[in-house]
Symmetry: C2
Amino acid sequence: MKYDNQIKQWLKENRARGARLLQILVRENSTRGNESSTQALVIEKCRQLGLALDIWEIGGAELKNHPAYCCDRKSFDGNPNLVAVLKGTGGGKSIILNGHIDVVPVGDESSWKHDPFSGMIECGKLYGRGATDMKGGNVALLMAIESLIANGIKLKGDVIFQSVIEEESGGAGTLAAVLRGYHADGAIIPEPTNMKLFPKQQGSMWFRITITGKAAHGGTRYEGVSAIEKSLFVIQRLQQLEKDRNEKITDPLFEKFPIPIPINIGKITSGEWPSSVPDTAIIEGRMGVSPEETIQAAQHEMESCLRELNEGDEWLRENPLNLEWFGGMWLPGSLGSDHPLMNELTNSFIEVKGAPPIVEASPWGTDGGILSTVGNTPVVVFGPGITETAHDANEHINLEDLFAASEIIALTLLKWCEVDE
Amino acid sequence: MKYDNQIKQWLKENRARGARLLQILVRENSTRGNESSTQALVIEKCRQLGLALDIWEIGGAELKNHPAYCCDRKSFDGNPNLVAVLKGTGGGKSIILNGHIDVVPVGDESSWKHDPFSGMIECGKLYGRGATDMKGGNVALLMAIESLIANGIKLKGDVIFQSVIEEESGGAGTLAAVLRGYHADGAIIPEPTNMKLFPKQQGSMWFRITITGKAAHGGTRYEGVSAIEKSLFVIQRLQQLEKDRNEKITDPLFEKFPIPIPINIGKITSGEWPSSVPDTAIIEGRMGVSPEETIQAAQHEMESCLRELNEGDEWLRENPLNLEWFGGMWLPGSLGSDHPLMNELTNSFIEVKGAPPIVEASPWGTDGGILSTVGNTPVVVFGPGITETAHDANEHINLEDLFAASEIIALTLLKWCEVDE
């Protein structure tokens, strides 16, 4: 508790600098393939803080052949990953502070009140793509680190700050950092959780099912086999699978979620002509994965399900459903609610906010799945961003929350990594 | 019976000329908007036969405002309709011989064995787009008329030959001919019926249903309303409607058809992203119409059905299904199997083929619906083309059937219109 007030005081006095840092990060568009200019600002910030920099362009066979690698990006050239380490004096627990620098596209620009890259501040909210997801979280981390350095506090354990690319597209940046050897005794990822603590995260992956029918004229449609009618059976079976899978989820962290691990049918296309029987249908969707199961186990359940459909239907026996796992894949993550990192974060939260945090499981995947599953690093997802505005028009963050999160994280570092007196 | 053998003999001797006429018609591509060059060949043939020609470009307010007008074509300029009349001496029954000159596109050219416009003859079959649907039928008509003229036979009733555009797109050509004043005591349309007699024809029309949902992230899909899930309800309700409508069909002419008047769901598109809840779905299809009901009555049934769905669902009450009737519409047609025209055609058929014809209802619409419903002209659809090859690659016709149909039609004309001795 010795340094807590010092840290709090410093962070209070430096709010304007924190807001300014977020503003300059938001003003750079860092969509996929364009991360370099924002990353350069983060690198310069870390250099000024005197951190040990490791800057590299990800890639190579080890990464691309890894089972958790899920990425259709052709080249990472020119858009590096960054790891910046505040080396400890030894003996304390280490921590990874991980944030992604990539943002999703702005979408329909006409839905935005301001320029999506304005970084405009209005009534305590900072607006712009990435403000909430998750440059605001990244600034909370950097301000927490700076508060230690500025106050001359030395920690025993290493603080490993990671500014990674590719989170929005499946986590190749964090996977590359894990494969480069970075792991720690704990990790915090300040994704936009509305200040909730997420020790568990739903994983997910995308699937595509192709259904084959037989074309015919609509006036004699019984001479064909409608790929749309067969799709109905498939969708109904997937609805049943979703029901069965969710009935098994009893974790109280999920109790507020009507469907803890949804199977979302996001897209269907079939047919070209109103008066023809369609001979092909394509369904695409997202399958949620429980924190307590593996991607493989979940895939296996859907595969069995479709195999049953194929076996039970005369037409499908000859013209089987085709299942592909494509595009995004996010590993689930699971940490016990009584893990020491949860305890430290909770205590710091109470110290700053005066009440205990809400603890839940996240309804979406983060890089936490890779950090914990591949990197063997216990992860808590906790951040100041507003879940609802992520990926949406008029994305914004409450600066008050950013500063509170920064305090909570700084206080946690003091205890987790231990101060070297 | 006096002239029958003379006619049969002449048609037998002039088979090569008939095949040659079909060949030159097939060699001209007469897809929508390109009918003029083929129509020019038909006009010249009718001029040579000494028929009274009426050639005009369709259009005008009366046509376009008619409730049976269903056409999205911008211009008919340069692609005329033709009516060519063999004037009777008076006192006999008149007849319309109606054939359309437009053909559907060739589709995937690589699926054709020969050039789609080759008109190649192989083993008694003439190949090419339009050979069966329905230039072959048109040639059967023209050869029947020529056989009368060549043998100096005068009929009492008028023979009104019509070569119309736009059948494949909803019948604006035949509607224009009806509105120009052409009607008769009977009509034959030699669409490809496999030599069956169709006194009744299924009508049809296209519909589009737009379903509105509410977008959300797939990981919290319960926060949205899936337009795909709502589509499932709609499709299931339409399946029930199809069942209910078909249970009412007891006409023996339909007994071979598993579903006499199908509701075909030809197309569905919904969603843009696997991990989003889709907020819009569009279903397009074709609704079959019974020969004994009107287009309006059938539309009303579907409208009631969707209204029920809207009223019974909380979401749809606020976000109702939107139904449009768009694109094609083909009126149904119904003639009693004991109509005198059916009797004459049947007798002629037996005389030529030695056995009675198969009598059925057609599973698709023709211009017969407009001729009978709007033009008050009793219609039988009967022709030499092969139903299965219409609209398909390698479309072809058996020339033997073409000549037989021509004989049957010529003999029918002798009796229907009566010979003026």
